[in-house]
Protein backbone atom coordinates (compact mmCIF):
# COMPACT_ATOMS: atom_id res chain seq x y z
CA UNK A 1 0.00 0.00 0.00
CA UNK A 2 1.27 3.45 -0.84
CA UNK A 3 1.13 6.42 1.51
CA UNK A 4 -1.75 7.86 -0.45
CA UNK A 5 -3.62 4.57 -0.05
CA UNK A 6 -3.12 4.73 3.69
CA UNK A 7 -4.35 8.33 3.77
CA UNK A 8 -7.50 7.36 1.95
CA UNK A 9 -8.03 4.46 4.34
CA UNK A 10 -7.62 6.66 7.40
CA UNK A 11 -9.99 9.27 5.99
CA UNK A 12 -12.53 6.57 5.16
CA UNK A 13 -12.35 5.19 8.70
CA UNK A 14 -12.79 8.67 10.11
CA UNK A 15 -15.81 9.29 7.89
CA UNK A 16 -17.45 6.04 8.94
CA UNK A 17 -16.76 6.70 12.60
CA UNK A 18 -18.41 10.09 12.22
CA UNK A 19 -21.42 8.50 10.54
CA UNK A 20 -21.80 6.06 13.42
CA UNK A 21 -21.54 8.85 15.97
CA UNK A 22 -24.11 10.92 14.12
CA UNK A 23 -26.70 8.24 13.47
CA UNK A 24 -26.53 6.04 16.51
CA UNK A 25 -25.42 7.95 19.58
CA UNK A 26 -28.47 10.17 20.16
CA UNK A 27 -30.91 7.23 20.09
CA UNK A 28 -30.98 6.29 23.78
CA UNK A 29 -31.39 9.86 25.07
CA UNK A 30 -33.83 10.94 22.41
CA UNK A 31 -37.05 10.49 24.33
CA UNK A 32 -37.75 13.42 26.57
CA UNK A 33 -40.78 15.05 28.04
CA UNK A 34 -41.74 18.67 27.85
CA UNK A 35 -43.43 20.01 30.95
CA UNK A 36 -45.34 23.27 30.78
CA UNK A 37 -46.73 25.05 33.76
CA UNK A 38 -48.55 28.35 33.69
CA UNK A 39 -46.35 31.39 33.91
CA UNK A 40 -43.08 29.47 33.79
CA UNK A 41 -40.74 28.57 30.94
CA UNK A 42 -40.97 24.98 29.68
CA UNK A 43 -38.99 22.32 31.46
CA UNK A 44 -37.45 19.50 29.42
CA UNK A 45 -36.96 16.22 31.22
CA UNK A 46 -34.88 13.39 29.81
CA UNK A 47 -36.62 10.05 30.25
CA UNK A 48 -33.42 8.07 30.49
CA UNK A 49 -32.93 8.15 34.26
CA UNK A 50 -35.64 7.02 36.70
CA UNK A 51 -36.61 9.74 39.11
CA UNK A 52 -39.38 11.87 40.57
CA UNK A 53 -39.86 15.50 39.70
CA UNK A 54 -42.05 18.03 41.52
CA UNK A 55 -43.65 20.82 39.50
CA UNK A 56 -45.33 23.81 41.10
CA UNK A 57 -48.68 24.54 39.53
CA UNK A 58 -51.42 27.05 40.14
CA UNK A 59 -53.04 24.97 42.89
CA UNK A 60 -49.97 23.37 44.37
CA UNK A 61 -47.20 20.83 43.72
CA UNK A 62 -47.60 18.07 41.14
CA UNK A 63 -45.47 14.91 41.34
CA UNK A 64 -44.24 13.45 38.09
CA UNK A 65 -42.62 10.00 38.00
CA UNK A 66 -40.14 8.90 35.35
CA UNK A 67 -39.37 5.21 35.04
CA UNK A 68 -38.23 2.94 32.18
CA UNK A 69 -38.33 5.75 29.64
CA UNK A 70 -41.92 6.68 30.52
CA UNK A 71 -43.47 9.46 32.56
CA UNK A 72 -46.72 9.86 34.45
CA UNK A 73 -48.54 12.09 36.90
CA UNK A 74 -48.19 10.50 40.30
CA UNK A 75 -49.78 13.06 42.61
CA UNK A 76 -51.73 16.18 41.77
CA UNK A 77 -53.72 18.71 43.79
CA UNK A 78 -56.75 18.69 41.50
CA UNK A 79 -60.08 17.06 42.32
CA UNK A 80 -60.71 15.06 39.16
CA UNK A 81 -57.27 13.40 38.91
CA UNK A 82 -57.70 12.87 35.16
CA UNK A 83 -54.01 13.58 34.77
CA UNK A 84 -53.16 10.64 37.01
CA UNK A 85 -55.69 8.41 35.30
CA UNK A 86 -54.06 9.10 31.95
CA UNK A 87 -51.39 6.69 33.09
CA UNK A 88 -47.95 6.23 31.65
CA UNK A 89 -46.90 8.37 28.71
CA UNK A 90 -44.35 6.55 26.58
CA UNK A 91 -44.45 7.37 22.88
CA UNK A 92 -43.82 10.51 20.90
CA UNK A 93 -46.90 12.72 21.13
CA UNK A 94 -48.37 11.13 24.26
CA UNK A 95 -49.82 13.88 26.34
CA UNK A 96 -51.55 14.45 29.65
CA UNK A 97 -52.40 17.59 31.53
CA UNK A 98 -53.65 18.70 34.90
CA UNK A 99 -55.68 21.64 33.66
CA UNK A 100 -56.86 22.91 37.04
CA UNK A 101 -53.26 23.05 38.16
CA UNK A 102 -52.12 24.24 34.72
CA UNK A 103 -49.42 21.60 34.31
CA UNK A 104 -49.04 19.74 31.01
CA UNK A 105 -46.66 16.94 30.02
CA UNK A 106 -45.90 15.85 26.49
CA UNK A 107 -43.48 13.15 25.38
CA UNK A 108 -41.26 14.25 22.52
CA UNK A 109 -39.48 11.69 20.36
CA UNK A 110 -36.99 12.13 17.59
CA UNK A 111 -39.09 14.05 15.13
CA UNK A 112 -40.68 11.07 13.49
CA UNK A 113 -43.94 11.67 15.34
CA UNK A 114 -46.72 14.16 15.03
CA UNK A 115 -46.52 17.92 14.84
CA UNK A 116 -49.80 18.32 16.71
CA UNK A 117 -52.58 16.19 18.18
CA UNK A 118 -56.26 16.93 17.93
CA UNK A 119 -58.45 15.74 20.82
Amino acid sequence: MTTADKTVLILALALIAALYAHSWAPAPAAESARVSSAGKPDLWLALGADREVVIEGVLGPTDLEIRDGRIRFRRAPCLGKHCIHSGWLASDGDFAACLPNAVAVQVVGKGTGFDAITF
Binding site: L11, L15, L19, R34, S36, A38, D42, C78, L79, G80, H82, S86, G87, W88, L89, A90, S91, G93, D94, F95, A96, A97, L99, P100, A102, A104, G113, F114, D115, A116, I117, T118, F119
Partner: protein, 347 residues
Amino acid sequence: MHTHRCRLGALLIALLLCACEQREIPVHEFQFFAFGTLIELTIAGAESRSAQRAYRRIEKDFKTLDEDLYPWREGVLARTNRLLARGQPFTVDPLLVPMIDEATRLSRLSGGLFNPAIGALVELWGFTGGEPPRTPPPRNDIMRLVAGQPSMQALVFAAPTLKSTNKALRLDFGAYAKGYAVDRGIEALRALGIKNAILNAGGDLRAYGRRGARPWHIGIRHPRAPGVFASVEIETDESILTSGDYERFFIYNRKRYHHVIDPRTGYPIRKAICATVIHRSAAVGDATATALLVAGPDHWEALAQAMGIKQAMLVDAAGNIHVTSKLRERIRFHVDPGRSIVKSADR
Protein backbone atom coordinates in the same frame (compact mmCIF):
# COMPACT_ATOMS: atom_id res chain seq x y z
CA MET B 1 0.92 21.79 -6.03
CA HIS B 2 -1.91 24.29 -5.70
CA THR B 3 -4.08 22.61 -8.28
CA HIS B 4 -3.32 19.23 -6.72
CA ARG B 5 -4.63 20.42 -3.37
CA CYS B 6 -7.72 21.92 -4.95
CA ARG B 7 -8.45 18.65 -6.63
CA LEU B 8 -7.82 16.80 -3.41
CA GLY B 9 -10.24 19.11 -1.68
CA ALA B 10 -12.81 18.53 -4.39
CA LEU B 11 -12.27 14.83 -4.01
CA LEU B 12 -12.95 14.97 -0.31
CA ILE B 13 -16.05 17.04 -0.87
CA ALA B 14 -17.27 14.56 -3.43
CA LEU B 15 -16.79 11.79 -0.90
CA LEU B 16 -18.69 13.67 1.74
CA LEU B 17 -21.46 14.61 -0.65
CA CYS B 18 -21.94 10.96 -1.38
CA ALA B 19 -23.19 10.63 2.16
CA CYS B 20 -25.77 13.28 1.53
CA GLU B 21 -26.83 15.06 4.70
CA GLN B 22 -30.29 16.38 5.43
CA ARG B 23 -30.77 20.02 6.19
CA GLU B 24 -32.87 20.97 9.22
CA ILE B 25 -35.27 23.93 9.06
CA PRO B 26 -35.92 25.98 12.19
CA VAL B 27 -39.11 25.03 14.07
CA HIS B 28 -40.30 27.11 17.03
CA GLU B 29 -42.77 25.76 19.57
CA PHE B 30 -44.61 27.85 22.17
CA GLN B 31 -47.13 26.88 24.82
CA PHE B 32 -49.35 28.84 27.18
CA PHE B 33 -52.61 28.39 29.06
CA ALA B 34 -55.89 30.05 28.05
CA PHE B 35 -59.56 29.04 27.71
CA GLY B 36 -58.93 26.61 30.53
CA THR B 37 -56.59 24.54 28.39
CA LEU B 38 -53.17 24.37 26.79
CA ILE B 39 -52.59 26.47 23.67
CA GLU B 40 -49.71 25.46 21.40
CA LEU B 41 -48.21 27.51 18.61
CA THR B 42 -45.74 25.88 16.20
CA ILE B 43 -43.96 27.97 13.59
CA ALA B 44 -41.68 26.55 10.91
CA GLY B 45 -39.18 28.22 8.65
CA ALA B 46 -39.20 31.61 10.32
CA GLU B 47 -36.37 33.25 12.15
CA SER B 48 -36.46 33.39 15.91
CA ARG B 49 -37.33 37.07 16.21
CA SER B 50 -40.40 36.83 13.95
CA ALA B 51 -41.54 33.73 15.75
CA GLN B 52 -41.17 35.37 19.16
CA ARG B 53 -43.11 38.40 18.00
CA ALA B 54 -45.88 36.20 16.61
CA TYR B 55 -46.06 34.26 19.86
CA ARG B 56 -46.39 37.37 21.99
CA ARG B 57 -49.20 38.63 19.77
CA ILE B 58 -51.12 35.34 19.83
CA GLU B 59 -50.75 34.98 23.58
CA LYS B 60 -52.05 38.49 24.15
CA ASP B 61 -55.02 38.02 21.79
CA PHE B 62 -55.98 34.72 23.36
CA LYS B 63 -55.79 36.00 26.91
CA THR B 64 -57.98 38.95 25.97
CA LEU B 65 -60.56 36.75 24.26
CA ASP B 66 -60.44 34.39 27.22
CA GLU B 67 -61.44 37.21 29.54
CA ASP B 68 -64.16 38.42 27.21
CA LEU B 69 -65.74 35.22 25.99
CA TYR B 70 -65.97 33.03 28.99
CA PRO B 71 -69.17 33.84 30.82
CA TRP B 72 -67.83 32.99 34.24
CA ARG B 73 -65.20 35.66 33.95
CA GLU B 74 -66.03 39.32 34.27
CA GLY B 75 -65.82 40.10 30.62
CA VAL B 76 -67.95 41.16 27.73
CA LEU B 77 -69.98 37.99 27.58
CA ALA B 78 -70.84 37.97 31.26
CA ARG B 79 -72.10 41.54 31.04
CA THR B 80 -74.02 40.78 27.87
CA ASN B 81 -75.76 37.82 29.48
CA ARG B 82 -76.85 39.99 32.39
CA LEU B 83 -78.26 42.57 30.01
CA LEU B 84 -80.02 39.93 27.92
CA ALA B 85 -81.71 38.56 31.02
CA ARG B 86 -83.48 41.89 31.51
CA GLY B 87 -85.31 41.43 28.22
CA GLN B 88 -84.65 45.02 27.16
CA PRO B 89 -82.70 46.10 24.10
CA PHE B 90 -79.16 47.30 24.75
CA THR B 91 -76.14 48.26 22.69
CA VAL B 92 -74.17 45.12 22.13
CA ASP B 93 -70.37 45.04 22.22
CA PRO B 94 -69.06 44.96 18.62
CA LEU B 95 -66.79 42.03 19.52
CA LEU B 96 -69.82 39.82 19.88
CA VAL B 97 -71.68 40.85 16.74
CA PRO B 98 -69.90 38.58 14.24
CA MET B 99 -69.88 35.76 16.75
CA ILE B 100 -73.58 35.98 17.47
CA ASP B 101 -74.23 36.28 13.76
CA GLU B 102 -72.25 33.20 12.80
CA ALA B 103 -73.34 31.18 15.83
CA THR B 104 -76.99 31.88 15.03
CA ARG B 105 -76.49 30.76 11.46
CA LEU B 106 -74.69 27.58 12.52
CA SER B 107 -77.29 26.84 15.12
CA ARG B 108 -80.03 27.08 12.54
CA LEU B 109 -78.13 24.90 10.05
CA SER B 110 -77.64 22.27 12.74
CA GLY B 111 -81.32 22.23 13.59
CA GLY B 112 -80.53 23.46 17.07
CA LEU B 113 -78.13 20.62 17.90
CA PHE B 114 -75.41 23.23 18.21
CA ASN B 115 -77.03 25.61 20.62
CA PRO B 116 -74.96 28.32 22.31
CA ALA B 117 -78.06 29.66 24.06
CA ILE B 118 -78.06 26.95 26.75
CA GLY B 119 -75.55 28.74 28.95
CA ALA B 120 -77.71 28.19 32.02
CA LEU B 121 -77.74 24.44 31.50
CA VAL B 122 -73.97 24.37 30.96
CA GLU B 123 -73.45 26.26 34.17
CA LEU B 124 -75.82 23.97 36.04
CA TRP B 125 -73.73 20.95 35.09
CA GLY B 126 -70.68 22.78 36.33
CA PHE B 127 -68.16 22.05 33.61
CA THR B 128 -67.46 25.71 33.21
CA GLY B 129 -64.93 26.30 35.95
CA GLY B 130 -61.53 24.86 36.63
CA GLU B 131 -62.68 21.88 38.65
CA PRO B 132 -65.03 19.26 37.26
CA PRO B 133 -68.16 18.55 39.30
CA ARG B 134 -68.61 15.26 41.13
CA THR B 135 -72.33 14.61 40.84
CA PRO B 136 -75.07 15.34 38.33
CA PRO B 137 -77.43 18.21 39.15
CA PRO B 138 -80.99 17.52 40.32
CA ARG B 139 -83.26 16.30 37.56
CA ASN B 140 -85.90 18.93 38.31
CA ASP B 141 -83.45 21.73 37.75
CA ILE B 142 -82.40 20.24 34.45
CA MET B 143 -85.98 19.79 33.27
CA ARG B 144 -86.89 23.32 34.24
CA LEU B 145 -84.06 24.73 32.14
CA VAL B 146 -84.85 22.49 29.19
CA ALA B 147 -88.48 23.55 29.32
CA GLY B 148 -87.40 27.15 28.81
CA GLN B 149 -86.26 26.08 25.32
CA PRO B 150 -83.63 28.74 24.89
CA SER B 151 -82.46 29.14 21.31
CA MET B 152 -80.55 31.64 19.21
CA GLN B 153 -83.79 32.43 17.40
CA ALA B 154 -84.89 34.33 20.49
CA LEU B 155 -82.27 36.97 19.81
CA VAL B 156 -83.40 40.09 18.05
CA PHE B 157 -80.59 42.10 16.57
CA ALA B 158 -81.39 45.58 15.25
CA ALA B 159 -77.98 47.14 14.90
CA PRO B 160 -76.56 48.28 17.22
CA THR B 161 -79.01 46.94 19.75
CA LEU B 162 -79.66 43.39 20.84
CA LYS B 163 -82.39 41.92 22.94
CA SER B 164 -83.64 38.51 23.94
CA THR B 165 -87.27 37.45 23.88
CA ASN B 166 -86.63 34.42 26.05
CA LYS B 167 -85.62 34.83 29.67
CA ALA B 168 -84.10 31.33 29.63
CA LEU B 169 -81.53 32.36 27.05
CA ARG B 170 -77.94 32.62 28.19
CA LEU B 171 -75.03 32.68 25.78
CA ASP B 172 -72.15 30.24 26.20
CA PHE B 173 -69.73 29.98 23.32
CA GLY B 174 -67.80 27.09 24.82
CA ALA B 175 -68.35 24.89 21.77
CA TYR B 176 -67.28 27.64 19.43
CA ALA B 177 -64.89 30.04 21.17
CA LYS B 178 -61.71 28.02 20.71
CA GLY B 179 -62.33 27.64 17.00
CA TYR B 180 -63.14 31.33 16.70
CA ALA B 181 -59.96 32.30 18.55
CA VAL B 182 -57.91 29.99 16.35
CA ASP B 183 -59.34 31.56 13.18
CA ARG B 184 -58.48 35.05 14.43
CA GLY B 185 -55.06 33.83 15.49
CA ILE B 186 -54.30 32.39 12.05
CA GLU B 187 -55.30 35.68 10.44
CA ALA B 188 -52.92 37.49 12.76
CA LEU B 189 -50.10 35.05 11.99
CA ARG B 190 -50.56 35.53 8.28
CA ALA B 191 -50.61 39.30 8.67
CA LEU B 192 -47.34 39.04 10.58
CA GLY B 193 -45.78 37.25 7.63
CA ILE B 194 -45.60 33.78 9.16
CA LYS B 195 -45.72 31.29 6.29
CA ASN B 196 -46.04 27.95 8.09
CA ALA B 197 -47.76 27.44 11.42
CA ILE B 198 -50.01 25.31 13.58
CA LEU B 199 -52.20 26.99 16.18
CA ASN B 200 -53.63 24.38 18.52
CA ALA B 201 -56.11 25.46 21.20
CA GLY B 202 -56.56 22.46 23.46
CA GLY B 203 -56.82 20.02 20.57
CA ASP B 204 -58.78 22.30 18.19
CA LEU B 205 -56.24 23.33 15.63
CA ARG B 206 -55.68 25.00 12.31
CA ALA B 207 -52.52 24.53 10.25
CA TYR B 208 -51.18 26.04 7.07
CA GLY B 209 -47.94 25.81 5.11
CA ARG B 210 -45.56 22.92 5.64
CA ARG B 211 -42.91 21.77 8.00
CA GLY B 212 -39.92 22.27 5.73
CA ALA B 213 -39.90 19.50 3.16
CA ARG B 214 -43.03 17.74 4.35
CA PRO B 215 -46.64 18.54 5.26
CA TRP B 216 -47.74 18.83 8.89
CA HIS B 217 -48.51 15.47 10.48
CA ILE B 218 -51.54 15.70 12.73
CA GLY B 219 -52.56 12.85 15.03
CA ILE B 220 -56.08 12.18 16.28
CA ARG B 221 -56.13 11.07 19.87
CA HIS B 222 -57.71 7.78 20.78
CA PRO B 223 -60.79 8.45 22.92
CA ARG B 224 -60.05 5.74 25.46
CA ALA B 225 -56.32 5.03 25.29
CA PRO B 226 -53.14 7.08 25.25
CA GLY B 227 -51.72 7.70 21.83
CA VAL B 228 -53.30 8.23 18.47
CA PHE B 229 -55.76 6.13 16.48
CA ALA B 230 -55.66 8.00 13.18
CA SER B 231 -53.68 10.75 11.50
CA VAL B 232 -53.84 13.14 8.56
CA GLU B 233 -51.42 15.38 6.70
CA ILE B 234 -52.18 19.07 6.32
CA GLU B 235 -50.41 21.47 4.01
CA THR B 236 -53.03 23.80 2.59
CA ASP B 237 -54.85 25.89 5.17
CA GLU B 238 -57.12 23.56 7.12
CA SER B 239 -58.60 23.14 10.57
CA ILE B 240 -59.12 19.87 12.35
CA LEU B 241 -61.28 19.78 15.43
CA THR B 242 -62.39 17.04 17.74
CA SER B 243 -65.13 16.93 20.30
CA GLY B 244 -65.15 14.08 22.75
CA ASP B 245 -66.68 12.80 25.95
CA TYR B 246 -63.25 12.36 27.48
CA GLU B 247 -62.20 15.99 27.73
CA ARG B 248 -64.23 17.07 30.74
CA PHE B 249 -66.17 14.42 32.58
CA PHE B 250 -66.80 12.68 35.84
CA ILE B 251 -67.98 9.20 36.67
CA TYR B 252 -70.86 8.82 39.09
CA ASN B 253 -72.57 5.53 39.89
CA ARG B 254 -70.50 4.00 37.10
CA LYS B 255 -71.94 6.32 34.48
CA ARG B 256 -69.92 8.89 32.60
CA TYR B 257 -71.22 12.46 32.66
CA HIS B 258 -69.41 14.84 30.33
CA HIS B 259 -69.57 18.37 29.00
CA VAL B 260 -71.38 17.85 25.67
CA ILE B 261 -74.99 18.42 26.62
CA ASP B 262 -77.88 17.52 24.34
CA PRO B 263 -79.99 20.71 24.29
CA ARG B 264 -83.12 18.64 23.81
CA THR B 265 -82.73 16.46 26.88
CA GLY B 266 -80.50 18.51 29.13
CA TYR B 267 -78.25 15.49 29.67
CA PRO B 268 -74.84 14.59 28.20
CA ILE B 269 -75.06 12.74 24.91
CA ARG B 270 -74.67 9.00 25.10
CA LYS B 271 -74.69 7.66 21.56
CA ALA B 272 -71.19 8.71 20.53
CA ILE B 273 -67.81 9.18 22.16
CA CYS B 274 -65.93 11.47 19.79
CA ALA B 275 -66.24 13.31 16.50
CA THR B 276 -63.60 14.88 14.27
CA VAL B 277 -64.15 17.47 11.56
CA ILE B 278 -61.81 18.91 8.93
CA HIS B 279 -62.77 22.26 7.42
CA ARG B 280 -61.13 25.54 6.53
CA SER B 281 -62.75 27.53 9.34
CA ALA B 282 -62.01 26.35 12.86
CA ALA B 283 -65.09 28.10 14.24
CA VAL B 284 -67.44 26.23 11.90
CA GLY B 285 -65.54 23.00 12.57
CA ASP B 286 -65.75 23.48 16.31
CA ALA B 287 -69.52 23.99 16.26
CA THR B 288 -70.01 21.08 13.87
CA ALA B 289 -67.89 18.62 15.87
CA THR B 290 -70.04 19.27 18.92
CA ALA B 291 -73.26 19.05 16.91
CA LEU B 292 -72.15 15.73 15.39
CA LEU B 293 -71.90 14.20 18.85
CA VAL B 294 -75.41 15.38 19.60
CA ALA B 295 -76.68 14.03 16.28
CA GLY B 296 -75.28 10.58 17.01
CA PRO B 297 -74.59 7.70 14.60
CA ASP B 298 -78.06 7.84 13.04
CA HIS B 299 -78.05 11.46 11.91
CA TRP B 300 -74.43 12.55 11.84
CA GLU B 301 -73.99 12.37 8.12
CA ALA B 302 -77.07 14.44 7.35
CA LEU B 303 -75.97 16.99 9.91
CA ALA B 304 -72.49 17.27 8.43
CA GLN B 305 -73.98 17.86 5.03
CA ALA B 306 -76.37 20.50 6.36
CA MET B 307 -73.43 22.37 7.89
CA GLY B 308 -71.42 22.20 4.67
CA ILE B 309 -68.81 19.81 6.09
CA LYS B 310 -67.41 17.18 3.73
CA GLN B 311 -64.78 15.58 5.93
CA ALA B 312 -66.03 14.23 9.23
CA MET B 313 -65.68 11.19 11.41
CA LEU B 314 -67.75 9.90 14.30
CA VAL B 315 -66.96 7.15 16.78
CA ASP B 316 -70.18 5.81 18.25
CA ALA B 317 -70.75 4.53 21.76
CA ALA B 318 -69.88 0.98 20.70
CA GLY B 319 -66.52 2.18 19.42
CA ASN B 320 -67.32 1.79 15.74
CA ILE B 321 -65.84 4.34 13.36
CA HIS B 322 -68.01 6.15 10.83
CA VAL B 323 -66.25 8.35 8.30
CA THR B 324 -67.32 10.36 5.24
CA SER B 325 -65.93 9.23 1.89
CA LYS B 326 -63.94 12.42 1.39
CA LEU B 327 -62.17 11.95 4.69
CA ARG B 328 -61.66 8.25 4.14
CA GLU B 329 -59.54 9.12 1.09
CA ARG B 330 -56.92 10.89 3.15
CA ILE B 331 -57.12 9.67 6.72
CA ARG B 332 -54.64 7.09 7.88
CA PHE B 333 -55.86 4.71 10.57
CA HIS B 334 -53.47 3.32 13.13
CA VAL B 335 -56.09 0.82 14.32
CA ASP B 336 -58.31 -1.56 12.43
CA PRO B 337 -61.15 0.78 11.35
CA GLY B 338 -63.45 -2.15 10.71
CA ARG B 339 -63.68 -3.09 14.36
CA SER B 340 -64.65 -1.36 17.55
CA ILE B 341 -61.81 0.68 18.94
CA VAL B 342 -62.90 0.43 22.55
CA LYS B 343 -63.07 -2.48 24.90
CA SER B 344 -66.51 -2.85 26.45
CA ALA B 345 -65.14 -2.13 29.92
CA ASP B 346 -64.07 1.34 28.78
CA ARG B 347 -67.43 2.60 27.57
